[in-house]
């Protein structure tokens, strides 16, 4: 099938890419852009391991056609580390709180947590749990993941 051109912003950089119009966003990100933080755990939008932000909203990239990101802004976990290798507060909180075990779900969780920590609203622990309930983790029981998100959201609100 003929490839089609899309123009989009990927991790803060404007890009033009030729893609298979049948390809999912996760396939293009993993196989074409080598952004392997985007994980495949189910390929049907159940597990959340492939979560990326499209125009600031979390999506399961495995059930989002790549062609749909034309003209949009896509952020993957790789985009949270700056050019000097400095990581963001939420990544640091996942380390500090012990929210990482096998690490396979971690990229998806961090991406799903971004709208929570960037929101004006203060989320209760229960609300955080609801927001991340589209992401599965089998290692942590979610306890430390909720801790990391709650801590980062609080720190941002208090300007730390």
């Amino acid at each position: 099938m003929d490839k089609q051109k899309i123009t989009f912003t990927l991790n803060h950089v404007r890009r033009e890419e030729y893609i298979d119009p049948r390809a999912s966003l996760s396939e293009v990100l993993r196989d074409q852009m080598e952004l392997t933080s985007v994980k495949h755990g189910c390929n049907v939008g159940e597990c959340g391991a492939c979560t990326v932000l499209v125009d600031g909203e979390p999506f399961n990239s495995c059930i989002y056609l790549a062609i749909w990101v034309d003209g949009k802004d896509v952020l993957t976990l790789e985009g949270l580390t700056d050019i000097d290798g400095k990581i963001s507060d939420i990544q640091q909180a996942f380390i500090d709180e012990g929210a990482v075990q096998c690490g396979f779900c971690t990229p998806g969780f961090i991406m799903s947590s971004l709208p929570i920590i960037e929101s004006e609203k203060t989320f209760s622990r229960e609300e955080i749990r609801k927001q991340i309930s589209g992401n599965f983790c089998r290692c942590t029981g979610y306890e430390t993941i909720v801790n990391a998100i709650e801590k980062t959201a609080k720190a941002r609100k208090s300007g730390k």
Binding site: D31, V44, I132, G141
Partner: protein, 761 residues
């Protein structure tokens, strides 16, 4: 010193940045893809294939079927190999099987240039079967005349084992005993690691390289050689980061077939990545077990005699087979060793998907049955639920009469005391007893014991290697595997303290390569910090000795007066810092007169074992009309000896509790009763715990130092899953008076139980 400190994971940075590479992330672009054709009948035989249409799909490279594979049957269990024939795992499958034994058996494979081509071809393969009546339950499989699933086991019973401690028949004649009996049932569940079963394979010269998401690289190498009929040196396994295993990847899954496939395409790289659906159906599950337990109890609550009869549904292939139910009936004996005890266990083939190892290896099953039964006994005899456990549970110094495993340390009583206080047991018990409305509360608890490793049933061995770099840093290699539990971090902590260097100086090599990494059997049985931990300690001491020897030569001092502490060679008499480790390391490498590449490698042949203990207390709310349980408060308290890393240890307990909650409340595999097809082979229908389903998880430890552990430590990884389901079941009994004897306690199940009990109409 860093042992005992909550240091951050050595791999955390890699994992939060997305730099950590898992198997699929390393798969070369444009390599070949293999897709397996799975049978659509549960019991029968493949008569023929029609491959004509499938072969016409552009991009198809090769189609191989069960008629093409080597005529070799091989075992898949991740056990250390036994050189004694009678202890060897059962060889009962081929790479692809003509004799189909469950709905989903591997019968053919397409290798193609793209995944789409492979899938299109799969859909066009025509297959003719001869069908036999399938058997899905243990009872049906054991009936005379049931279809024989494997000709080597004509009655479908793989193993029937029995034991008796004391004289059971005499013990039950004691006057005044109260007999309590019950049947308890546990369901099959799946591991649900988020990374599916994955591998790819290629050839380097005559050597087959398999890159795989496995807990057991060295064992998988052995199994590949058995399946292909080649020798150890012809296969190497590479294990990168792995996205969870929980025992499923303590089995050879895709690797043997994948190893063979690359040999059929001239050594080109072939990927074999299971989908979520295939991972659910075609890998392994937790065994469904049924128990019949009988107790003879004195009026004071002590046991005169107990017996257990256990039936384990193995499914289509032996995998770990009888080892799990044997472990279960052994724990039945060990937990409450008083009185005469007998056990009787069967492992039986059926035409369901294959069961294998899963976190805590048979003990969540017996843990549910036994701890539910103990509450039933307490109720029947009219004794306090905690008191009956205290009267009968394993005590310090216990030597198991059959395995000889000895209780070298126990903090169980302290665990129970802590949990009791945390949950406000005494107050809540009184408070909840007054309730009789539609929404009621209850508290429950359950205890467990768990062995550390597999000695003396199987071999326990582990090797470690350390090398001194020119700057005094130390690359650390061991065959024990990081699977998410934090093994790499705790081994680094152990290495740092033993050698006398800071944690940052330890460079653990996470990727395993069976041609390079020292031998270890892998991640299972909560064995690694105990067995490999000792290997790390021995190797660290050996490296330190070599460093001190070279420093003594450099400084012209007596070696016995030198020690390595925090990167410095220190004079032990004067406490003076003599020379930095970096200087010694440079000189050792580049000395023109006496260069010496300092390295150490040691094996720990482990010949001991020890018990971990713990308890779960749960405080629940039961909405009787909705048939729904809500966990309002829950705590696990563990005695795993010395905790090497409190942050990671708490993480292990959180994860185990969550898995235990799922086991008790939500999870189960569902099969079509006619065809045996798995109906909930995906994460939407299979009810895995989400963050919203999970209550706040509380964890405490008590830390008696175990004298046999390298740092006073003992098993931790698996145990947290064990006591949760029975604690909730016992809380449900407390809340409603309904003794439910099967899990999961989901609304659908509770509806029937409550109806039967007359709580709802």
């Amino acid at each position: 010193m860093v042992v005992g400190k909550p240091v951050e994971r050595v791999d955390a940075f890699e994992k939060v940045t997305g730099r950590a590479k898992y198997t699929a992330d390393l798969f070369p672009r444009n390599a070949l893809i293999a897709k397996v054709m799975h049978s659509t009948i549960a019991n029968g035989k493949v008569l023929s294939f029609d491959l004509d249409e499938a072969g016409k799909i552009p991009g198809v490279v090769k189609i191989l079927t069960c008629f093409d594979v080597p005529d070799i049957q091989y075992p898949t269990a991740g056990h250390p190999w036994s050189t004694e024939k009678k202890h060897q795992d059962i060889s009962d499958r081929k790479l692809l099987n003509q004799r189909v034994r469950f709905y989903g058996d591997d019968i053919a494979v397409v290798i193609a240039e793209t995944e789409i081509a492979a899938k299109q071809a799969l859909a066009l393969i025509q297959v003719k079967y001869e069908e036999y009546p399938p058997v899905f339950t243990v009872a049906d499989a054991m009936k005379p005349g049931a279809t024989v699933i494997h000709e080597e086991k004509p009655g479908n019973v793989i193993v029937h084992s029995q034991y008796e401690v004391g004289k059971f028949d005499n013990a039950i004649t004691e006057p005044g005993l109260i007999k309590v009996e019950g049947d308890y049932h546990t369901q099959p569940v799946q591991h649900c690691h988020i990374e599916n079963a994955s591998s790819f394979a290629y050839m380097e010269g005559d050597k087959i390289v398999v890159v795989s998401s496995t807990q057991i690289p060295h064992i998988v190498r052995r199994i590949c050689t058995q399946a292909l009929g080649c020798s150890f040196g012809q296969v190497k396994i590479v294990k990168p980061y792995i996205g969870g295993g929980f025992g499923n990847k303590q089995d050879a899954l895709t690797e043997p077939l994948n190893a063979w496939l690359t040999t059929k395409v001239g050594g080109r790289c072939v990927g074999l990545f299971y989908t979520r659906e295939e991972t659910f159906v075609c890998t392994r599950i937790r065994h469904a077990m049924d128990f019949h337990i009988v107790s003879y109890v004195r009026k004071d609550g002590t046991f005169a005699a107990r017996s257990v009869e256990a039936y384990s549904n193995q499914g289509a292939y032996a995998s770990h087979a009888h080892a799990l139910v044997a472990n279960a009936v052994n724990a039945f004996r060990m937990m409450y060793p008083s009185g005469a005890i007998k056990g009787d266990a069967y492992t039986v083939y059926t035409n369901l998907q294959t069961a294998g190892a899963m976190r805590a290896y048979g003990i969540p099953q017996i843990g549910f049955a036994l701890e539910a039964h103990i509450d039933d006994v307490a109720k029947a005899v009219g004794i306090d639920r905690i008191a009956i456990r205290e009267k009968n549970m394993m005590q310090m110094g216990y030597v198991d009469p059959i395995t000889t495993i000895t209780c070298h340390s126990t903090g169980l009583q302290e665990c129970m005391n802590k949990g009791r206080n945390f949950i406000h047991w005494d107050e809540k018990q009184k408070e909840y007893a007054k309730e009789n409305g539609p929404v009621r509360h209850g508290i429950g608890m359950a205890i467990f014991c768990y062995k550390t490793g597999v000695y003396p049933i199987s071999l326990e061995t582990s090797a470690c290697r350390m090398v001194l770099n020119q700057d005094g840093t130390v690359p650390l290699q061991r065959g024990a595997t990081e699977i998410g539990q934090g093994a790499d971090t705790v081994f680094s902590q152990m290495c740092a303290d033993t050698v006398g260097i800071p944690l940052e100086s330890v460079h653990i090599m996470s990727t395993q390569d069976t041609d390079i990494t020292p031998y270890d059997t892998g991640a299972y049985a909560s064995r690694q910090t105990y067995v490999c931990g000792m290997a790390v300690k021995k190797t660290g001491l050996a490296l330190k000795k070599k460093i001190c020897e070279f420093a003594a030569y450099m400084l012209k001092k007596d070696e016995s007066d030198l020690d390595l502490q925090d990167n410095w060679i220190v004079h032990t008499v004067s406490n003076e810092k003599l020379i930095s480790l970096a200087e010694v390391a440079m000189e050792a490498c580049y000395s023109l007169s006496n260069s010496h590449h300092i390295a150490a490698e040691e094996t720990h042949h482990c010949s001991d074992n020890t018990y971990s203990f713990g308890v779960c207390f749960a405080d629940i709310e039961v909405d009787i009309p909705l048939c729904k349980i809500k966990v309002n408060n829950i705590i696990n308290v563990h005695d795993s000896g010395t905790i090497i890393n409190p942050m990671l240890a708490a993480g292990q307990v959180h994860g185990g509790m969550s898995m235990g909650l799922g086991y008790g409340l939500l999870e189960r595999m569902v099969y079509d009763p006619k065809t045996g097809r798995t109906l909930d082979d995906n994460m939407l229908d299979y009810k895995l715990m989400t963050a919203l389903d999970t209550p706040e998880l509380n964890v405490e430890f008590v830390e008696p130092k175990d004298p046999t552990g390298p740092f006073g430590n003992k098993a931790l990884g698996e145990p947290p899953v064990i006591p949760v389901a029975p604690a909730i079941r016992n809380a449900l009994l407390d809340a409603t008076g309904v003794a439910v004897d099967a899990i999961p306690l989901n609304p659908e199940h509770l509806f029937f139980e409550f109806k039967k009990a007359g709580l709802i109409k």
